[in-house]
Symmetry: C2
């Protein structure tokens, strides 16, 4: 009788938790693409389900890029930001979404996302990416990585301008 009760409880708990287990498997699991979708040099891919991640901060980039942007991060990234943890721990992933700025149809003073332009990814793995501050980089247009020459520019710029912040520009929005 005891065993049956416990077994029923177990089943109930399992059913309740299935969405969680699935979300763990999906949210920070392997990336969605094949090797062909990985960035040159770094082998970084667009993380599966990244759009569900928490907002770190929006930004606006003036002309000529003229973009709206939003950096989002996985839970490791969010935890590190909230704790003010530098350097970011291995497993941190930051994704920058970007769109052309477009006039709001309702408000003359507002601009909103137009077409998506790039998705840019930073992955922290202090051993794998030891030569580039512990970060691997990926820059994607329409889900495909841009060429190797562009990827050669990533770390140089992050190193020149944000070395003291573990090579990360974006600050957590208050």
């Amino acid at each position: 009788m005891m065993a049956v009760t416990v077994a029923v409880l177990l089943i109930v708990v399992l059913l309740v938790c299935v969405p969680y287990l699935v979300s763990i498997a999906l949210a920070e699991g392997p990336a969605q693409g094949s090797a062909a979708d990985a960035s040159p040099i770094f082998g970084v891919t667009v993380p599966r389900d990244y759009k569900r991640w928490e907002l770190i901060a929006p930004a606006e980039e003036a002309a000529p890029l003229d973009e709206l942007r939003a950096v989002i991060g996985n839970q490791t990234a969010v935890d590190a930001y909230q704790a003010g943890q530098f350097p970011f721990p291995d497993g941190t992933i930051l994704v920058k979404r970007a769109w052309k700025r477009k006039q709001s149809p309702e408000f003359g003073s507002a601009t909103i996302p137009g077409a998506a332009t790039t998705v840019q990814v930073m992955v922290k793995d202090s051993r794998k990416y030891a030569a580039t501050g512990g970060w691997g980089f990926g820059r994607f247009v329409n889900g495909k990585p841009v060429d190797e020459a562009q990827h050669r520019t990533c770390f140089a710029c992050h190193e020149a301008r944000a070395k003291s912040r573990d090579y990360v520009f974006t600050r957590l929005a208050p």
Copy 2:
């Protein structure tokens, strides 16, 4: 022996799932504030843990407001956006976070979030808010609702400019 094995399994599953159960309790549960923190007219409060919600879209508001904004939504909102569902179902909650725009210290062409300005909330409850298109509104500064006069302006503007979109301005960023 069987009962012990099952009991151990149960404990393991429970421990694995505690974060999920806690997150369910927190993520879309009752709002964090007391009645004093509820908006006039509508009784809308700032949802607990709203910062964890998924990004719907960023926006930029030109001077004199000169703000960066990001609308985020609960799962009901995200599901409705992805399905293109109009009107939004009861239980939809949208939150607009807003910050003064500030010069990026690293890039002359970029602006980033400065001080937080307002948090604005829309809650769908077609019966409770039947007189205002099914939406309750809340506008908060430093966690406290602004006055009744300001709340009287919410629906008039949403009705005048976005009635055909279930009174919602923000579109899902592509």
